[in-house]
């Protein structure tokens, strides 16, 4: 084997070894690398019990309630299968609105409600002009309206 081919082989083997090592490391840390926990997992009791964590989902249309004279508010967050009530006191980002993706940081309260201390808004990868969005909205139904609150998968709430 020529020296050049030996070097090629060495670089190739190092690359393959690194790829394998990286794959196993990332698999081991898969859950820790999640920025937020899905609502269905929270409802099934799969969430960190003794510490704060983040939930992510869509704000259910028609559930946002603000208390007058204060910053207290409540709403429901869904992954389009289950919905979780959330309470929060503070200012929400510009993009927070019904039907919008949202990430909330906080912990589970006693009564099956998520008590958030920070709200972040997620936006999707779509960019369009306001007029286009308006004409689209006439045809496309808001998907958060079809949440099945009584879905059997959501009843495992251990509060």
């Amino acid at each position: 084997m020529k020296p050049r081919q030996q070097r090629m082989l060495a670089v190739g083997l190092v690359a393959v070894g690194l790829a394998i090592a990286a794959t196993f490391t990332l698999r081991a840390f898969k859950d820790n690398m999640m920025f937020f926990v899905e609502i269905s997992d929270v409802m099934a009791g799969n969430y960190p019990k003794e510490r704060n964590f983040r939930i992510g989902g869509l704000v259910v249309a028609g559930t946002v309630e603000r208390e007058e004279g204060s910053l207290d508010m409540s709403f429901e967050v869904t992954d389009t299968r289950c919905a979780l009530p959330v309470t929060y006191s503070g200012v929400v980002p510009d993009l927070f609105r019904e039907g919008q993706g949202v990430v909330a940081h906080g912990r589970m309260g006693g009564n099956g409600t998520f008590v958030a201390d920070k709200i972040m808004a997620k936006h999707d990868e779509e960019y369009m002009a306001p007029e286009v969005a308006e004409s689209l909205a006439k045809h496309v139904q808001d998907q958060t309206k079809s949440v099945q609150y009584l879905s059997t998968e959501c009843n495992a709430n251990d509060s």
Partner: protein, 250 residues
């Protein structure tokens, strides 16, 4: 083809032709950026949700793209230098690092400024996209520090090329982080599965800026590599002859 390739790899030849290629890339690059910035700021419609604030995308996306592109060029050039012992390749890799680091910094800074009003946060430590991009910046810093720490150029070339190749894993993680894990960052827009999820009036200026930034980067990379070559070859005969030669003859 191979003759041309070998000729290009010869330092004196590269030193002569680099300014020509650099200029050829620079002019269309600046024209594209001028169009992209004007069309992006004034002609493109505002976004239905983010209003005018989305326009930071015209700096953010090209910078983020180049932060990864520059790294891949650095790593591939390092690999070519390791395998084929090509001196010019190591000079390219060394020159790409500071440029890539600046684009990474720009991507992080514009992302943070964009994230504050839209997401409601400057920075989230646990987010896979943000963390992997920050680690990319640290790879650039580590690469430059390693080079600076070794006096022997040949040894510095080898060690830093290995480090650059190791960091490719992180570039892949940056790219796929929004698909593999849940992230605050949204998914791919331009390379979305069903084609770009963007109004054409917004998309074309963005593409113009991406190509324009890339050409600008290429032009700067050639210029930096040229000075790097001159420094590395400072003790050779062709450099001495070139300096001692009378004006107009080189």
């Amino acid at each position: 083809m191979w003759k041309w390739f070998h000729q290009l790899a010869s330092p004196p030849h590269f030193y002569r032709i680099a300014p020509i290629f650099s200029a050829v890339l620079l002019l269309p690059g600046l024209a594209l950026i001028a169009y992209g910035v004007y069309a992006g700021l004034f002609l493109a419609p505002m976004d239905y949700q983010q209003g005018d604030a989305f326009r930071i995308i015209y700096v953010h996306v090209p910078s983020a793209y180049l932060s990864m592109m520059a790294y891949m060029i650095m790593a591939v050039a390092g690999g070519i230098g390791l395998i084929w012992r090509m001196k010019l390749a190591h000079a390219v890799a060394a020159s790409a690092a500071p440029l890539g680091a600046w684009f990474t910094f720009l991507a992080l800074a514009t992302g943070s400024i964009w994230g504050r009003p839209m997401w409601g946060t400057w920075w989230e430590w646990a987010d896979p996209r943000m963390m992997s991009e920050l680690i990319l910046l640290f790879f650039y810093f580590g690469y430059m520090a390693l080079r600076a720490a070794i006096d022997d150029t040949a040894k510095a070339d080898k060690a830093s090329a290995v480090l650059a190749l190791v960091g490719v894993v992180n570039v892949i993680i940056v790219h796929y982080s929004v698909e593999w894990w849940s992230s605050l960052h949204q998914g791919q827009t331009i390379m979305a599965k069903d084609g770009p999820a963007m109004d054409p009036g917004m998309l074309y200026p963005l593409l113009a800026n991406i190509f324009g930034f890339t050409l600008l980067f290429g032009s700067l990379l050639l210029r930096r590599t040229r000075t790097e070559v001159l420094f590395r070859e400072r003790r050779t005969r062709w450099v001495k002859e070139m300096i001692l030669a009378p004006e107009g003859q080189s």
